[in-house]
């Protein structure tokens, strides 16, 4: 029997899986805090550094972290990019600028949007402050901050900032050790 068939080169086989995301021992207090408008980091006693957001482990030492540190909502841009390609599943319309922001008091940067300025004016070392959404809509997410905007302060030398932060972390580490020995 001769069958004249066109070859099938593609077919759609959609896959849907549903996952029930769970929080964690470290992330849960962070999520409660951000709903109150607070930015909560963790101090690692092993390194003296402050991690933000707290994910439960100090990656350098592999130890669990638990000591809370409230951080201010001002910080320094230590890296950034302006994105022109839409992110699948996101409502953000390009171009938008995503920055790695080191909040004052933290040793690890978090990602967030930069706005209320010319894209070309964003620079490494730029001082920024969070612009929060109205408190009525706050939920358990860093999306309570709509974006960060420049404060207008002069640019920070981030190499000097790094040295300063590392020195302060070293002091906190020694203090934590001293506290344990006492």
């Amino acid at each position: 029997m001769d069958i004249d068939l066109d070859p099938i080169e593609q077919f759609d086989a959609p896959i849907y899986h549903r996952y029930h995301a769970t929080s964690s021992r470290a992330i849960t207090p962070f999520l409660h805090a951000v709903k109150r408008g607070e930015l909560l980091g963790h101090l690692s006693t092993a390194t003296g550094k402050v991690l933000f957001p707290p994910l439960g482990a100090c990656p350098e030492s592999g130890e669990a972290t638990h000591i809370p540190v409230i951080l201010s909502d001002t910080g320094t841009v230590i890296g950034f990019t302006t994105v022109h390609l839409p992110i699948p599943g996101s409502k953000l319309v390009p171009p938008f600028t995503v920055a790695n922001i080191l909040l004052d008091g933290a040793d690890q940067a978090c990602s967030h949007l930069i706005s209320e300025c010319d894209i070309d004016s964003v620079a490494i070392g730029m001082r920024v402050v969070a612009v929060w959404r109205p408190a009525e809509v706050w939920n358990n997410s860093l999306e309570n901050i709509e974006y960060f905007k420049p404060t207008g302060e002069p640019l920070v030398d981030i190499d000097a900032l790094q040295q300063q932060c590392l020195a302060e972390a070293e002091q906190r580490k020694e203090a934590a050790k001293g506290g344990q020995d006492a």
Partner: protein, 388 residues
């Protein structure tokens, strides 16, 4: 260390990397495997074990696909293992395969790395949204753009360096029949005028999204003589990993990269990579990673990698002394799971004298390099034309 040497006696690749290859997943890997077996002068029955590597399964939507691929790759009745180390996987898979031989328990193994990312949506899979966090992950390009910007800040490199790499690798690719992108008219202006994707990375400074597979037959010394071509020999191999993020982590020149290279070079007795290697296939998915890796891998002093690029040192076409990515590199073909193995395999082809139009004359020692994750996973090997 055991004394068991590892020979590479067969290399096979997809005939032409491109997107939406019209073959099944099984067909894709089988093509590369058959090419490798043919080069090695071997049959399926000569192979003792199968080592498969690929990046996240969400690129194709098949969970743990080695089960499905068993028949296609002659894996029935054999040991089969599947490695996944993110972007470096093609390289780490080759290393696991080499360890099979080095252990003394296997005479010949077939290793295949692949990706058929057009089956799913690679940009989606590379931009996972983490629960409880705002969704800003914009693929690998978005992740690396700030790292590139930081390199530019530190090195004060001229703006055009990235464009130079983009042109050089695509011109290299013209001589590689397997390469996805064949852009004979590419020049600096074309690259500069291409759309900006994640500043400062432009469209033509980024890798394509490809489907493809790469395979190798590795053999013990006693079983390395079946190919009509001479084998390549593994002189050194190393892997290192570090965490994705930690406070003040060095992202431009990661410690894991330096540690991996140091381990690698000490095995091979290399103190001056630029002089002692004849070429390198290095994982450069975004153009500025060439100067970044030139420095990290010790081909140039910190802050000076871009000079080698601008001088043409890494260009085969310009007669550079240390050609990088004669195959066109990741910038010309990027089936993500395969790309690391393509680097390792192209290095092997070079020292076997089998790189055809892209051959570096008299290449005796070459570096194959792969990296992945947030510049945190590294796998490298050095191959030579003589027994180590």
């Amino acid at each position: 260390m055991s004394n068991n040497r590892v020979a590479i006696c067969g290399v096979g690749q997809t005939e032409r990397y491109k997107t939406k290859l019209t073959c099944s997943l099984a067909g894709l890997v089988r093509e590369a495997a058959l090419n490798a077996l043919a080069d090695a002068g071997c049959e399926w029955s000569d192979i003792d074990a199968l080592i498969i590597g690929k990046a996240p399964d969400m690129f194709e939507g098949v969970v743990m696909p080695e089960a499905y691929l068993a028949e296609a790759l002659g894996g029935v009745n054999k040991p089969v293992i599947r490695v996944h180390t993110a972007g470096s996987v093609g390289g780490s898979t080759a290393i696991v395969a080499a360890n099979h031989i080095k252990s003394g328990f296997f005479n010949r193994v077939l290793t295949v790395a692949f990706e058929k990312q057009s089956e799913s949506n690679a940009h989606w899979a590379l931009s996972p949204s983490m629960p409880f966090r705002p969704h800003f992950n914009s693929g690998a390009g978005g992740m690396f753009a700030p790292v590139i910007r930081e390199y530019m800040r530190r090195s004060d490199a001229p703006e055009d360096v990235g464009c130079q790499v983009a042109v050089k690798d695509r011109l290299h690719a013209i001589k590689n029949p397997h390469a996805h992108l064949h852009l004979p008219d590419i020049d600096i202006d074309t690259v500069k005028n291409s759309p900006m994707l994640w500043e400062p990375t432009r469209f033509l400074e980024s890798c394509p999204s490809s489907d493809g597979a790469c395979a190798m037959v590795l053999a013990a010394e006693s079983h390395a003589d079946t190919s009509i071509h001479k084998p390549a020999w593994v002189h050194a191999m190393a892997m290192r990993s570090e965490p994705s993020f930690y406070p003040w982590r060095e992202e431009v020149n990661p410690e894991a990269s330096r540690a991996c290279a140091k381990d690698l070079y000490s095995q091979a007795g290399i103190t001056q990579p630029r002089k002692q290697l004849d070429m390198a296939e290095v994982y450069v998915p975004f153009s500025w990673f060439e100067p970044i890796w030139l420095e990290s891998l010790g081909f140039a002093e910190p802050g000076q990698g871009w000079r080698l690029t601008l001088e043409g040192a890494t260009s085969r076409d310009q007669g550079g002394d240390i050609p990088w990515n004669c195959s066109g590199g990741v910038l010309s073909s990027n089936p993500i799971g395969a790309s690391g193995m393509i680097r390792f395999a192209e290095a092997a082809l070079q020292v076997r004298g089998m790189a055809e139009q892209r051959q570096v004359d008299g290449a005796k020692r070459a570096l194959g390099h792969a990296y992945g994750g947030h510049s945190q996973f590294f796998a490298m090997w050095i191959v030579g034309d003589e027994r180590p």
